[in-house]
Amino acid sequence: MSHVDACVGTVAITLEHKEKSLLLNVPRTASLGGFLARTEIRERLRLILDVPERFTAIEVRARDGKGEWERFDARFAHASALADCASTLDGVCGIRLEVKGDDDDAMRVDSGSGWDDLERECRQSFFNGVKEATYATHASASKAMTMTRESADAMWAAAQRGDYEGLRRAESSSAELREGRREVLPVRVYEVRDGSFARAVVVSAPASVERRDITVGDALRQFGVDLRDVRTVISQGIEIDLDFDLAKTHEALRHVDGFLYLVTHCGTSS
């Protein structure tokens, strides 16, 4: 089984805008901001939710352990990590996206130039991750930085759409980029404490760990996670045992940018 097979699936996300809502199935591997900025999706959002072409903020909210909605700026994250942060396996993934138009009293996150800028920023963020993963494994990001425009476009399109064939091709390009002399694995760890989505923090950057004979638990310990406090570890919607081999977990569940995203739920049960 390739990692693409394991990562295929969708996350149900409820989008809300001005008391209207729309349920979207977003591919797990898709960049959330990039997915929403696709022409056909933004058109649906405009028709069904009256989302303006230009807006000042896009927010993600998720239910915390107490059932309240909490704000979390997650435009650049991919859908799977968001869903894994938002819920434990036995809970329903509840993510609410709120789009604030120019006429709303919203926190400004940038100059407010709408979908095109959101897509550009998400693309930059995605390739920043690709370069970081390449640098971590190769001690140089030159391979990622000298990708042809066509390869980069294809990889971004795959990340945006989460389509199976595109992901397979993108994965093959991505694997070529990562072939290197350093025996490390790029990993990012999100720590969600007490079921509070808003308090999800990345504890891992830059997060590359030695490949040899390391378990997921060993890796988390290296990143400073107190294993006694960990209730669940989730990646791509799958519960990960602390005894799992890290290299095999990375092989099966890494994101197309080359990073394995481990979401740890710590603290008291939600």
């Binding site: 930059q124 390739f127 920043n128 991750g129 370069k131 970081e132 640098y135 971590a136 140089s140 990001a141 030159s142 990622a144 930085m145 923090v201 990345v202 891992s204 950057a205 830059p206 997060a207 590359s208």
Partner: protein
């Protein structure tokens, strides 16, 4: 590091990392391009320092002349992953610019 937010002024027995700043593009050369900073400090503190030192609206910082790490990454973790750890704490090279350089 500048006097006010100097992260190196904290506990003296804490691990510190030597950060070497390299200008890219038309960024001004810093008067002091080597600083010692706490390993537990966040990368955003480096950005704040660069913004202040270059007297620009916003400074951009990169590692490996390639990518921008997460702003909440600690300097110690970045040094371990992308720099050079040694007995004295480690060394990390940070490229900076006043306009986006490597996306």
């Amino acid at each position: 590091m500048s006097p006010e937010p100097d992260p190196s002024s904290e506990a003296s027995d804490e691990r510190k990392v030597v950060v070497l700043f390299k200008a890219t593009g038309d960024a001004p050369i810093l008067r002091r391009n080597v600083v010692k900073i706490r390993a537990s400090a966040k990368f955003e503190e480096i950005l704040a320092h660069l913004t202040k030192s270059t007297r620009c609206e916003r400074a951009f910082a990169y590692l490996g002349a390639a990518f921008a790490p997460r702003y909440d990454a600690t300097i110690g973790a970045l040094c371990d992953g992308y720099g050079e750890r040694n007995d004295e704490g480690g060394k990390l090279v940070v490229f900076y610019s006043t306009t986006p350089a490597w996306g």
